[in-house]
């Protein structure tokens, strides 16, 4: 780890324009060049700090590239089995109602093997938050087809491209979650540009705020690039999010009970 002597730099005339959130560990990440996990981690860290939740947060990590989120965040963390993060988080939140609880899950984890746990957790209106990273492939295992893989997309298990008639169409999780009664907030964002990153952070904070206010379950889907498994350069991958993912997975807020009180399932934190 390298530490910067800020005072010395300032004496030389440099000005500090940005700092790492304290909750984010100052250590190199293992993610591939061009991967969006690093941006997502930072946005989560900033949101937790700005909302004053760091000291009461319990993080539930999942299985996939982001299992190592605990190496990058100074947070109490429990590792969930593949797909079970929402069930583990339910147990954590019920056991510690005063804690701020969030899961961080990929698309294979949340939308395939963990679909039942994720949807029932949302439908019960558990007072917790899910940060969902959708990069249309299984990343850690080497780029296999995910439930979010786009039609025609070539992966190691769909070498001819995903075929809608035999493999179905990609699941639109943010829309599915918005249709469930217990969900207070559901949105889809991307992190391909500064403007989108600002919007993404706003959505993460809105989802977290639902839990803080005891309004219900908050869900944010982040469209993310996986240059390695897409066989692309970071710039090409970023462009693919804009040109291929966003047209299929529209960005936006699909439910926000702060703007629609009729959606609220609970008057307060129980």
């Amino acid at each position: 780890m390298t530490s910067i002597n800020l005072a010395a730099l300032q004496q030389e005339g440099y000005t500090e324009v940005a700092t790492l959130p304290e909750v984010l560990a100052d250590r190199p990440m293992h993610y591939c060049p061009g991967c969006h996990h690093g941006i997502a981690h930072r946005l989560v860290a900033e949101a937790l700090e700005e909302l004053g939740q760091v000291e009461r947060t319990i993080c539930v990590s999942s299985i996939g590239c982001s299992v190592f989120i605990y190496n990058y965040m100074h947070l109490d963390t429990v590792e969930a089995p593949h797909g079970r993060a929402a069930a583990v988080a339910t147990g954590v939140k019920r056991a510690r109602p005063d804690a701020f609880v969030f899961t961080y899950q990929g698309d294979g984890d949340l939308a395939s093997i963990g679909l039942a746990e994720s949807m029932h957790c949302a439908n019960r209106g558990e007072k917790l938050s899910i940060v969902f990273i959708n990069n249309t492939v299984y990343g850690m295992t080497g780029g296999q087809m995910a439930p979010t893989t786009l039609p025609g997309q070539k992966t190691t298990t769909s070498p001819g491209g995903r075929c809608a008639s035999t493999e179905g169409l990609p699941l639109k999780m943010a829309e599915i979650m918005a249709g469930l009664g217990g969900v207070a907030y559901s949105a889809r964002v991307a992190t391909t540009s500064l403007k989108r990153i600002v919007e993404a952070k706003k959505a993460i904070k809105a989802a977290f705020q639902c839990q803080i206010d005891g309004r219900g379950f908050g869900f944010v889907e982040l469209l993310s690039a996986c240059p390695t498994n897409w066989r692309m350069t970071p710039l090409q991958a970023n462009e693919r999010v804009e040109k291929e993912l966003i047209p299929y997975f529209p960005l936006g807020v699909f439910k926000d009970d702060a703007n629609d009180p009729a959606c609220s399932v609970s008057g307060g934190d129980s």
Partner: protein, 353 residues
């Protein structure tokens, strides 16, 4: 400690024992013959200010248990055989992450959907690990409704003292029969888990509960630590014996079958047959030394189980050839009664088995 007397089903005794032990979260899913547990819990847990969740599946319930256990809050789940199969993933993760989850299996017949009657067909699954990887649960086998109550209290104490999952292995007979139970409230050590439980990293470094060990040598070291723990738990093993001192034949049987075997042995004693019963109360750790001590020259053993022969393998391993061990299996699907055990016992006495 305050005590009172109640008339309870085994399933109800599990609920009240858990609540007396300070359990404040229950996660369950319906399956016969344990439905009394979630049904009663749905109202009793609310009365003590705890949390009751009817999960979407046994997979969900066991993982909710994992989450609550990670917070150091006393929690349990219950199910019956097919449901407990679904929980094996989470049990393996709890063992790997050293989490004190308590699981109750009111076992029924198998394989597959089997039936809803009693069975001991889950012995191997309970004591050999059950899920993937090298791990064990502490396994208690109650034979009475009183034990169902007492074992729930012991289950939480052991789970927190040793940071291992604990399995209470009953069956359909125990869950559905009703007996007087002396209820009592233990002193609960509220500090148990205070050095590892998750509560938010306020004023201290963050904590991590995990079962992934990728660094060179890390998993080997973790497994060595777990295996040492399981060996250190051996002194917790218990064997209940009746009439073994002068016995020519010792029947080894656990749970409700141990109790039915005792009735059969008592009938035979009245006819002058020297028969005793040894009932393992803990199935893991298995009471190896206690069984070995019973293997005096000339004495034979008969293992009776309501399955096709599972614990008998551990009895034979424990006795290491020092005594003959016969087996009588009462097939799951048929409700056992003491009279059916008489002839197999007489055959074993005559060394015909």
């Amino acid at each position: 400690m305050t005590a009172s007397r109640k008339f309870l089903k085994g399933n109800e005794a599990v609920v009240y024992g858990a609540l007396a032990a300070g359990c404040r979260c229950y996660f369950g899913y319906p399956i016969t013959p344990q439905n009394d547990i979630p049904e009663l819990m749905s109202s009793e847990m609310v009365k003590v200010g705890g949390q009751f969740v009817q999960a979407e599946s046994e997979v969900g319930a066991a993982n909710m248990l994992l989450g609550a256990a990670a917070c150091g809050v006393r929690a349990f789940t219950s199910s019956s055989s097919p449901g407990v199969s679904l929980m094996q993933e989470a049990i393996s993760y709890m063992a790997g992450s050293e989490l004190p989850g308590v699981i109750v299996n009111m076992a029924r017949g198998g394989p597959g959907l089997g039936d809803i009657g009693s069975s001991q067909g889950d012995y191997f699954q309970a004591v050999k690990g059950g899920g993937h990887g090298d791990y064990r649960c502490y396994v208690l086998a109650p034979a009475t409704c009183q034990e169902a109550y007492d074992h729930m209290i012991e289950a939480f104490d052991v789970a927190y003292a040793w940071r291992v999952p604990v399995l209470v292995l009953g069956d359909a007979i125990l869950g559905q029969m009703k007996e007087p139970v002396t209820t009592w409230t233990p002193d609960v050590n509220a500090d148990a888990g205070k050095d590892w439980r998750l509560e938010g990293a306020s004023g201290r470094p963050e904590r991590l509960l995990k079962s992934l060990f990728l660094e060179d040598g890390a998993l080997a070291g973790h497994n060595a630590k777990l295996q040492t723990r399981y060996r250190d738990m051996q002194p917790l093993s218990r064997l209940e014996t009746v009439g073994v001192d002068d016995a020519e034949l010792v029947i080894v049987a656990f749970g409700t079958i141990g109790r039915i075997a005792r009735s059969a042995a008592s009938q035979l004693r009245k006819q002058g047959h020297k028969v005793g019963v040894a009932r393992p109360v803990t199935l893991f750790p298995f009471p190896v030394a206690q069984l070995q001590a019973l293997a005096v020259p000339g004495r034979r053993f008969l293992t009776i189980e309501q399955n096709c022969g599972q614990m008998v393998e551990d009895v034979r391993l424990a006795l290491a050839g020092k005594a003959e061990v016969a087996f009588h299996g009462h097939l799951p699907g048929n409700l056992p009664n003491p009279d059916e055990f008489i002839q197999p016992i007489l055959d074993a006495l005559a060394a015909k088995a």
